[in-house]
């Protein structure tokens, strides 16, 4: 089945993308094999590359990749300076060790840096980076505000507040850039940390003013209109929600503790049911309706299913090939790519085929030079192509 072009009607449910990405992330958390992790990042990256649109949120993927690299870097620096719990025989360098008082026993600064320790840190950092990249992929592929539309009515208003808060950050960055540029006009240096600090107050002032203006606009456009509900219903809602949450807490405590395994699960389930009923009942206060909500179709099932399958297969692989999923850092060995776990990760490529494809932009770009083609394409997209 060939994928249709992504339009508002065919767009995949945002939840499907998140399930897929969380599936990949679960798989990433189950292995430290760098080859498998690399493969996983490759799978996520490929799907993002072929199914990402030109929307603003789609650009966040690059930021997540950079964040992942930063995490690896930090993990390595820490391992380098603070040492590693892994024993090792291949010493790379020996740093001067800082003498620490007795109460800091177990903490070490400086000393021997072993290849094994660094390798272990690298594997560990890779795992975290892969997790981040999976989240980044979901962010790039699914419109965060569309996801909110799937929230229950009672939570919608809180959700809008979250979305508005999320647009705060990019606006803040734009403000900082503008004001730093303006510093140049005053003849003050526009680079450096001090420049950033000095524009802090005006930037916050601006952000606050914008928030107030937005709040006024939202109020005038009917945000927060609520239907009249009988007192009894209101009280039942509060009782159900509070009781449900208490039940969830107590149930979880029971499940995690040693003694309460018997009553833990039923209490948890009852609490969940009560909380959900409270949410549903609370939704009656809200008069909102939803404009063109995304539908959960067969393609969404396939995409979500592929993510869940990757997670399940990797967890299963943890049973039959634990050594391949966790290559030891000590003694030093080259990791191998286990065939079946690798093959099961490739299931995650399914969305690259079944998910609706973004509209081809700049189909008429005549230039052969790839850089120019890209430039024309972006320029065109910015001007007229509908970007989904």
């Amino acid at each position: 089945m060939s994928a249709p072009q992504a339009t508002r009607t065919t767009a995949l449910h945002a939840g499907a993308w998140w399930l897929w990405a969380l599936g990949l992330a679960t798989a990433a958390s189950r292995t430290t094999n760098p080859l498998l992790l690399g493969l996983l990042v490759g799978v996520a990256g490929y799907v993002v590359a072929v199914r990402r649109t030109d929307a603003p949120w789609a650009r966040s993927y690059g930021a997540f990749v950079k964040l992942g690299l930063l995490v690896i870097g930090i993990r390595l620096v820490f391992a380098f300076v603070l040492g590693s719990p892994i024993p090792g025989s291949h010493t790379l360098v020996t740093l001067p060790e800082v003498p620490l008082p007795d109460w800091a026993e177990g903490v070490r600064i400086g000393g021997r840096v072993t290849a094994e320790g660094m390798l272990f840190a690298l594997y560990d950092g890779l795992k975290l980076a892969a997790l981040l990249i999976c989240v980044g992929a979901a962010n790039a592929l699914a419109n965060p505000s569309r996801l909110l539309k799937s929230l229950p009515g009672a939570l919608y208003e809180a959700g809008v507040a979250v979305v508005v808060a999320m647009t705060f950050a990019p606006n803040l960055v734009a403000d900082v850039q503008r004001l730093r540029a303006a510093r140049r006009l005053r003849g003050r240096p526009d680079r450096g940390f001090k420049a950033l600090l000095q524009v802090g107050l005006p930037v916050l002032e601006g952000a606050l003013e914008r928030s107030v203006a937005l709040a006024a606009a939202m109020d005038a456009r009917g945000y927060g209109r609520s239907a009249r509900v009988p007192r009894a219903v209101r009280h039942t809602t509060s009782a159900l929600t509070l009781g449900g949450l208490l039940g969830v807490c107590a149930g979880t405590y029971g499940l995690l503790g040693d003694t309460g395994a018997g009553y833990g699960l039923p209490l948890l389930l009852a609490g969940l049911a009560a909380a959900l009923a409270g949410l549903w009942l609370g939704g009656r206060r809200s008069v909102r309706t939803r404009y063109r909500p995304e539908r959960w179709g067969p393609r969404a099932c396939l995409v979500a299913g592929s993510g869940i399958a990757v997670a399940a297969l990797t967890i299963w692989a943890g049973g039959y090939a634990p050594a391949a999923l966790h290559p030891p850092a000590f003694p030093l060995t080259a990791p191998v790519l286990p065939l079946w776990p690798a093959a099961s990760l490739l299931v995650g490529l399914l969305p690259a085929v079944v998910a609706p494809a973004p509209a081809p932009a700049g189909a008429t770009a005549p230039a052969a030079d790839p850089a120019t083609t890209r430039a024309t394409r972006t320029a065109k997209t910015a001007q007229k192509e509908p970007s989904q």
Partner: protein, 540 residues
């Protein structure tokens, strides 16, 4: 449809009411224009209609405001959302969602309309406002005119009976402003919507108005009446009305068409007189170039913002940069202060290359007042701001304060720059920039939000500076300002210079950049009311 009964509004700690004695009725299906100088409470009146005053802003409202029979005292803004649609000055601050289609649907979702109704209305509104092409676009990628149309559309989908707009065309180029106004016109005529709008640029809107409400001074009761009657007594009026007053036409013309019909005798009288050239051409031709731009190309991201731009600015010369929103005017100005690195060509300002020169050094060569003058102001009093400016420019203490006293007489030292009016803030920013005495002065969209009086003061100040030998480049949409000030007009389109020549030659022939006086008196090359007034006095 809208009734104000003896309304006065006093904000929290203010000594005097912001508006008082407002007693008026706006009938259904009228386009009603609210005019008056800055700071007379136009925004207060507008926000009282949608209930934001006093529910959101605080303050005390005495009297009664009813909209479609609903008292704003007992109805919160959200409960008026289905009868009043409000669009503020900055459309970006109005947007809640991120794409055009979602934005149009947002208000209806809040009201809880059925999904099929919402779908139908979104499609209708997309067609009505000509937004169908843009339906999936992210709001941040739209141009100014498109944003304003989306903002209007987003409140139209709930089918409000009243539309309230605060300066809908101030930030727009002439063509985009036409676009927005024709939409409003259509709403009033086809759908019977009542429109109440405040606007400083009267020359754009006055001919569409059915009624004009004039707030003559802070705290003074409003005057309401037919546009030509109100204009006869209004302290703010467009050039065409000024010309009509000068020539003694009655009733006063409101549009270029009305004026042209009456202007035949005036044209005949002026035919024999040559308009005073705004500049001694010989002097500028000899004067040294302050800035020289050759073959300039600038890329912003992957978009080529400027392409092969040539421009040279001489001492004592005022150049107006005009063109659509996004034509590259601001980019050109920021390149002149070194914020962008040219991808091709060369820029030299007073002998230095801006993007390779440190801010401290560059300050002495060129100064830019940005679109939002507030960006330049960091301190919390005028005095502190001036002291900082003296330090930045290494000027003797008190030089900035002396400039402020000249540009902005009567402003106390202790005022916070934020509490100044739009025009005062601009003057303060201008003084701060001028402290370093740069030979080249750049202004980006200086008249946004200024009323006619503030604009006249700005014109005065800039003329003085040009006479002292400063070269001035202003990027503006305001054709009247360009006509009054500029010796030369440069028109940019898509990053290229499409016209460059003396003001009268460039603007008289252009339908969108010609000032009203030029349109009325064409083919004679008269540009402004003072010019004509001077000539008539001379003739008498």
């Amino acid at each position: 449809m809208i009734r104000f009964e003896q309304v006065s509004v006093t904000y929290g700690d203010a000594a005097a009411p912001a508006v008082q004695g407002v007693d008026l009725t706006v009938p259904e299906g009228e386009l009603c224009l609210l005019v008056g100088p800055s700071g007379v409470g136009k925004s207060t009146v507008l926000n009282a209609v949608c209930g934001l005053v006093p529910h959101f802003t605080g303050g005390t409202l005495r009297g009664r405001v009813t909209v479609d029979g609903r008292d704003t005292r007992t109805h919160k803004p959200r409960e008026l959302a289905d009868v009043v649609g409000t669009v503020g000055q900055d459309p970006l601050a109005h947007f809640v969602t991120d794409t055009v289609e979602d934005e149009l649907a947002y208000g209806m979702e809040s009201l809880g309309l059925a999904p099929d109704v919402m779908r139908r209305r979104v499609e209708e509104t997309l067609d009505l406002l000509g937004l169908a092409e843009l339906r999936d676009r992210a709001l941040t990628t739209l141009s100014g005119g498109q944003r304003q149309r989306v903002a209007i559309g987003s409140v139209l989908t709930t089918h409000p009976k009243v539309l309230v707009l605060d300066e809908p065309t101030s930030a727009l180029d002439p063509a985009a402003a036409e676009e927005v106004l024709s939409v409003l016109q259509r709403l009033v005529h086809d759908l019977g919507t009542t429109v109440l709008l405040a606007e400083h640029r009267l020359e754009r809107v006055i001919q569409y108005a059915d009624q004009v409400i004039l707030l003559p001074a802070p705290g003074a009761p409003p005057v309401m009446g037919a546009p030509s009657d109100v204009m006869a007594v209004s302290p703010v009026h467009p050039p065409v009305v000024g010309l009509g007053k000068l020539a003694g036409w009655s009733p006063l013309p409101l549009s270029v068409r009305d004026a042209r019909r009456k202007a035949a005798p005036l044209r005949a009288r002026l035919e024999t007189v040559t308009p005073p050239r705004p500049v001694d051409a010989a002097r500028t031709a000899e004067a040294a170039a302050v800035a020289e731009v050759t073959g300039l190309g600038v890329r912003r991201g992957r978009i080529e913002a400027l392409h092969r731009v040539d421009l040279s600015v001489r001492r004592g010369e005022t150049v107006a940069l005009m063109g659509r929103n996004g034509a590259g005017k601001s980019t050109l100005l920021s390149t002149l202060v070194g914020m962008h690195q040219p991808s091709s060509g060369a820029v030299r300002v007073g002998g230095v290359v801006p993007h390779r020169t440190g801010p401290r050094e560059l300050l002495r060569q060129v100064g830019l007042v940005p679109q939002e003058p507030r960006d330049l102001l960091y301190a919390d009093t005028v005095a502190a701001e001036c002291a900082a400016a003296d330090r930045d420019a290494a000027a003797p203490a008190g030089s900035c304060r002396a400039l402020v006293a000249r540009l902005l007489p009567g402003v106390p030292d202790s005022v916070h720059p934020r509490d100044l009016s739009e025009g005062q803030r601009l003057a303060l920013a201008l003084a701060v920039v001028l402290t370093a005495r740069p030979p080249l002065l750049l202004l980006d969209e200086p008249t946004r939000g200024l009323d006619y009086a503030a604009k006249a003061r700005l014109v005065e100040v800039l003329r003085g500076l040009a006479a002292e030998g400063h070269a001035i480049v202003l990027a503006t949409h305001d054709v009247e300002l360009a006509a009054e000030l500029a010796h030369r007009v440069v028109i940019l389109a898509d990053g290229e210079v499409v016209a460059d020549g003396p003001t009268d030659e460039v603007v008289v022939s252009s339908p969108s950049f010609a000032p009203q006086v030029a349109k009325v008196l064409a083919p004679l090359p008269w540009l402004t009311v003072p010019q004509v007034a001077g000539a008539l006095e001379g003739a008498v």
